[in-house]
Amino acid sequence: MTLALPALDVQALRADFPVLSREVNGHPLVYLDNASSSHKPVQVLDAVRDFDAHHYSNVHRGVHTLSQEATDAYEAARTTVAAFLGGRHDELVFTKNATEAVNTVAGSFGNARAGERFALGPGDEVCVTEMEHHSNLVPWQMLCERTGATLRWFPLTDEGRLDLSELDALVNERTKVLAFVHQGNLLGTVNPVDVLVARAREVGALVLLDGSQSAPHMPVDVHALGVDFYVATGHKMLGPSGVGLLWARPGLLDAMPPFMGGGSMIEVVQMASSTYAKAPERFEAGTPVITQAVGLAAACDYLTAVGMDRVAAHEGVLTARLLEGLRTVQGVRVIGPDTTEARGSAVSFVVEGVHPHDVGQSLDELGIAVRVGHHCAAPVCRRYGVPATARASTYLYNTEAEIDALVEGLERVKAFWSA
């Protein structure tokens, strides 16, 4: 038995999120699109507003007071966000989003200016999985196109898990990098990081973990996970859009060439050539995402105050109720694991005879927001023989009553479309 945690006071917490009190199409908003993007509490909105109103300036190299205050806030944000993931200040790069963070790492491989660990060419292999978001698939495809390396991937089981039966063949002595998602955005599957990292260590491959769906929903300690790179994005974890992060194991960033050239990432600039700043500045060319970083730090503070273990426990309860509720609606099929074991709170499903777009549109008429489509994971849809899915995804502010509203809404959707 794990120690029982005091449950979240969801009603009190909901009061922090202004959008949750609005109505949509005459119904109270039921926001179940959190895997796509989450909402912001007043603590984040206020932090952003206060910073912009009273402390904003460009960061670094300024001597005036506002510049110093802005720099302090920006660098404090770096410390806060890194600590939220169990990392240290100089291990964290602010990016535009998780996609840019993956591209920053992928761009280092097969790059003549990079260290030996990033050498990549014909005969070498890059390994991903069939459940990746396009953001952790396409950059690796492009890398393989550029270098002549071979892309390989783990297939999926019918239950929505990684098929690890060929683990030793797929991650082998030719594998230079293994990139995979911590928690699948379409399937909700939580992958066995320890098993994959252990195999990567045996063959000396670097590991990138896409934490876009794990950082918002579970306690994360990047050092304990044992990965080399971890990426995430602010807007899925109560923060603003426009800011993501790349965490890297100490020593790796300094071996990587810059991703983009420009201001702030330099050491000495001459007309013919330049030398580059140390990480993390090396990867933050141009004016960085200053205000957004401050907002993301406020979001991390908020989540820390609530407690990520309590967030995860609450979502576990909601997910169990959702899976159970969906089972009661005839003709609904869950795409992904149908138990809460090693599973997050994003639940994809299809309704027999009703296209996901029509499911989503009809639910919107009831004020219920779910996402429909391929969720930037088209190969996953193909794997399970569906063109698209509807996906309900919860967060710390969702309630069991909202899960029930969705389940009841699906019955109404079915009634409408079978009339």
Partner: protein
């Protein structure tokens, strides 16, 4: 579901449940495959043009009610029409879809297509309504191009 009435008109639901001219048929001049990359909807569509008239349009595909019904309505509107008239109807439907609910559709031109006026108020669904039409325009352009060349050669 009363709110969706303006989107899910009875005519649209009828075409969705009982689509016209569905299924791929021979003979045909050109076959195209179009997809909507944002949602994964797809259609395979065949066109046969004889003497400047759209002889047949057949199709198969998967998609939401809007895309399927719109393709069904499209076949009613273009089959048997001289190509210029059929293209004119396609233009009228496109204009309606881009109108954001501000255009009063002409029933003489668009017949059942007027039921899609409400769709133009849902920007996320306009692409669904245009999927079959765009496939037809593409296929027809290909069918007319080479055959015109042949006739004049």
């Amino acid at each position: 579901m009363t709110g969706t009435d303006s989107l899910y008109q009875e005519i649209i639901l009828d075409h969705y449940k009982n689509p016209h001219h569905k299924g791929l048929r021979d003979p045909y001049d050109v076959e195209v495959h179009h997809v909507n990359p944002t949602c994964g909807d797809e259609v395979t569509l065949r066109v046969q043009v004889r003497d400047g008239v759209v002889q047949d349009v057949s199709y198969d595909g998967q998609g939401c009610s809007i895309s399927q019904a719109s393709t069904s309505v499209m076949t009613d509107l273009v089959i048997g029409q001289p190509v210029p008239q059929a293209l004119g109807r396609a233009e009228a439907f496109l204009a309606l879809m881009q109108s954001r609910g501000t255009l009063e559709p002409d029933e003489d031109v668009l017949e059942d297509g007027i039921a899609f006026a409400g769709v133009s108020r849902y920007p996320a669904r306009v692409k669904c309504a245009l999927l079959g039409w765009m496939a037809w325009k593409d296929a027809t352009a290909q069918a007319v191009g080479p055959s015109t060349t042949e006739e004049t050669a």
